[in-house]
Assembly symmetry: D2
Homo-oligomer: 336 residues x 4
């Protein structure tokens, strides 16, 4: 049984807390911290059986009983807190992105390497049953050499414009998961990116300097070609599909639904819409990534989403942004 501390009690911090309580047998939460400790937080922590609530994450880092921390605070604090945590000898699960700045990421990875602690990045979709099933086929060799990797990733609705403004942009906020997925499913590195984008959902997003619709083409080191299509608003729900096509076959996934019920009536043959959004679709994967993290600590195994897996998608996002701005394909080496 390892003891963990959660740094940041926002949405994702609570998602992890709940899934650890319910599903992760080998871990217990000893403390949670947040810059703002409200009564609501206190009472929520109590209901979860979390004994300590701090307003300073350093209390977590200073607790010798705590083996590992989950960095769930705001994005700009991921890097400095991870560095402090590593220096305090804590194993680290860090939410994505480690940092929007590639140099800061590299600094984190250096410190982590020197400290010899485990480090895992929160690309939870790698643990989703559907994407994992694709990956398993690829690893088993059933696809042969991958030739084409397609990821469809569309949100059910655009976030509030205030969120968009501070999100870092579509590529860093949303596509970052898909960039990771292309690497994960293909087993290869991205070498060049071309991004076509537009403002088709909401003109306010354009005024904020961002886009809401995109198609990104990615050339991979193994010769395969990846392609991602994104939209901030799919009126039918959260559309999360992927396909890997290769020399021996192809594997693709559909969306998950709440039930398999199909209703046939005069209007047509009607199935359910996809599960609404990431909490509904990916809840199990949030638990499974933490199980993996705990397992890597307990059994001293490498984590399945390591520091480089945190760095590469940021480089791809940088290249995608540059491609969009300059209207040309951009090599990762140009931004690395």
């Amino acid at each position: 049984m390892i003891k963990v501390g959660i740094i940041g009690a926002g949405r994702i911090g609570r998602v992890h807390s709940e899934s650890i309580s319910k599903y992760v047998k080998g871990a217990e939460i000893k403390a949670i911290s947040d810059i703002k400790v409200t009564e609501e937080l206190q009472s929520w922590a109590e209901s979860m059986g979390i004994p300590n609530v701090y307003d300073d994450y350093r209390k977590i880092l200073q607790d010798p009983e705590i083996d590992a921390v989950l960095v769930c605070s705001s994005t700009n604090t991921h890097a400095p807190i991870s560095i402090e945590a590593a220096q305090a000898g804590k194993h680290i699960f860090c939410e994505k992105p480690i940092d929007p700045n590639k140099d800061k990421i590299r600094e984190v990875l250096d410190v982590v390497a020197k400290a010899g602690v485990k480090f895992q990045v929160g690309f939870n979709r790698r643990f989703d049953h559907n994407f994992k099933a694709i990956r398993d086929r690829v690893v088993a060799g059933d696809i042969g050499e991958p030739h084409l990797i397609r990821v469809t990733s569309r949100d059910p609705d655009a976030p509030p414009i205030e969120y968009v403004k501070v999100s870092g942009g579509l590529f860093f906020d949303m596509t970052i998961h898909d960039f990771d997925m292309i690497r994960y499913l293909s087993g290869s590195e991205v070498v060049e990116v071309y991004a076509a984008g537009g403002v088709l959902v909401n003109p306010e997003i354009g005024k904020a300097g961002d886009i809401d619709t995109a198609v990104i083409t990615l050339k991979l080191a193994n010769g395969a070609i990846g392609v991602i299509d994104n939209s901030r608003k799919a009126v039918y729900g959260y559309d999360q599909r992927a396909e890997v096509f290769g020399s021996k076959g192809a594997v693709q996934t559909r969306n998950d639904t709440d039930s398999t019920a199909v209703y046939s009536c005069e209007a047509g043959v009607i199935a359910e819409k996809p599960k609404y959004f990431f909490l509904e679709r990916y809840m199990q994967s949030f638990a499974d990534e933490i199980k993996c993290f705990v397992d890597s600590i307990v059994n001293d195994k490498p984590t399945l989403v390591n520091g480089n897996d945190g760095l590469q998608p940021v480089l791809i996002a940088l290249a995608a942004k540059k491609s969009l701005d300059e209207g040309r394909p951009v090599k990762i080496s140009e931004v690395a």
Copy 2:
């Protein structure tokens, strides 16, 4: 190239004429007959390139150039015309049922046997791509020993009440195809039948002494159990599915649709309804059954739907009706 005559220019007679013209390369239609030769029929025949239109089917039987006839006249004339045709040495394709009376059927089969002509019954669904795919799996041994055979057969709408009154009843008019399908898919004979039925679609059907909804259980000689569910009215269209389950696996079919398009919107994920009715769903099978018939003549092979295949479903229908009337399972041997 063989020459055929069509006896009866109603709906099914014209369906066969069209499919022979379009799809059956080895046959041409030399004549068609109908008890009522209208101008419309004359002009239709001309458009089809059928050189002769008679009001007396005997002219077809007397034409030495005609090798084979399709008996598409009204049900009560199937048996006598088939007998005459056999005696005239013509090969016979006879629409189902040969006759509602089992003794008359046996008489037809005797005459046909003595005449040594080919005889095929119009159970076109055996030639449907979906049911054939099930049958192929069974014959290939992929199912192992069949244990359960399920047929779902529901019409898009009840026929006019005037039709119901002269139809011979649900079992003889509609389920007869499903009785044949159970035999075809299982490769075994029915030995006992239990029918549960009701009047749920239209009370007028009940007043006419018929039912519109039924579940029929069939015990087969090989130990397998068949089950058919029928409705005269499926508001979403013609529902035609089947499944064979056995010791090594199961195979089932879905409905055909006009396209594979699936529309995702706020209301749900909407696929197309089944093809509307038998002309839409089974058109290709009407052509293929005639191709098979022509092939059996040209290459002197047995037909794929022989006289016994015409007799057995009528016996099963008789048993089903008796079961419904008496509220108990009825053995085929009781009605044979």
Copy 3:
């Protein structure tokens, strides 16, 4: 927060314990009892955080802090323990069947009624997302008047022959769930049953006086017809599907799978097999039935599976057995 005691620490007792721990926020387990308290049980209980382990269930009944019990002991003890528990003023969740004997069931229901405690029977499939989606469509009126209800229920493999011998037979052991499902989905009572059965999977099952394959037709009070098909062995996995067809449309469910991945290769287009067996397929429903039970206690609401819901399937099973033995349809009134 209510306190519960679990009576019986076999498979289903542990399933409920685990799901309460993980998913049921408003309940905690204070004690578990089993006639055989092993070290393994002690250590399992400790790992689950269950503070008390008894070899006598009466200690649970005598604990004034315990609000409710789950009767998970062997079938022949369900009735007497339920009676004692009711007399002790405990709310009761009783595994199915309450008893194979209808008179004992009625005795239990009488005592429960007098005691004024909540009583819920463990027909967990009512809480399955797929069957619930069908039921929701029926209740919403989307199906109109139900005409046909079909349940397919096939196990992945036959149980050991020793189990078969003491199981009470296919209808009491396996089909009992499907009998409940027909009532649940149709919203109507069964009035007559016809069962066709066979020994097609394993001749040892026949020697033990049981069957392994069945088709059961059920006439319902509202005129609809139900049909169940059962097999003890579907080589492709646990086959659990249902359909309700009515005047306004139909709704049907497919099997659940571990992922939606579809693999296309030279051999075909291959999807996953159904989830393996009831623990995999129905785990969430085990949690949800207990949530419902807890909710009925906390908010003083009727349970969703009441005493009559425990009685009726046993009556239907009795009628099915009699029908199979006598080769004729049997009215529920004959066995009630």
Copy 4:
């Protein structure tokens, strides 16, 4: 009834001949020409009921009874024969591409316009039931404003290397259909193209200066983004799918199969592979495009695939080739 002449008796010339004979009621074939009139061609023509076989297409153009011609000869002759045919006053159905050279295409379109004859290009996939169902949803407004258009187009196997060498390259030979499909489904013109390609199927194709795998991104005048993925070899068969996603929803199609049969066994749940290749998949569309052409003549309506529809995909292919060669997005205006 109009009379047509077929120019070119190769594969596609014969496909059109057969489909006209079978399906197109308002047309009859009076003559066919080929530069090489063999005995085999003579006997095939006889079996099709085509009365005249010429070695000089000019005999067809000179026959005053012939209303329309189908130009099915080799690609380099499409333009000059179309010009002659227009000058002879014949309506023209011209196989794609009109010409690889955009100036020649424009010359053809000029002559056709002056002659006032009907002109249709052989983009048969517009008449495919699946793609038409997508288009119908778009035209009906069910998709709202289109945002993303995806076309997957993969052949079951690469053509012989000798064919590849003279094919004009992947974009002109294969993707040309997909370029047309993007325009057809989106209802908008392509303004810029970016092509990523590789040689992943067969290195010989690379040695011949061509590619076998590609992802092409297309910016459309209405702001939508199109994306095509191509492979010369999908081992599971001919993969032909599309999706349009927009402000009100999305519509997508699956592949067609020979039957809907699904086989469940220990190895998995196995459906059929897609129909093998274009003759199997698109046969009906070949008939329907000719019906449309005949209808446009008989009822003096515009054709559904006009001269500009023949020109635009060639311009897009030119831009795609330039993009691939230069590693940058290319505007259509650069190549027009």
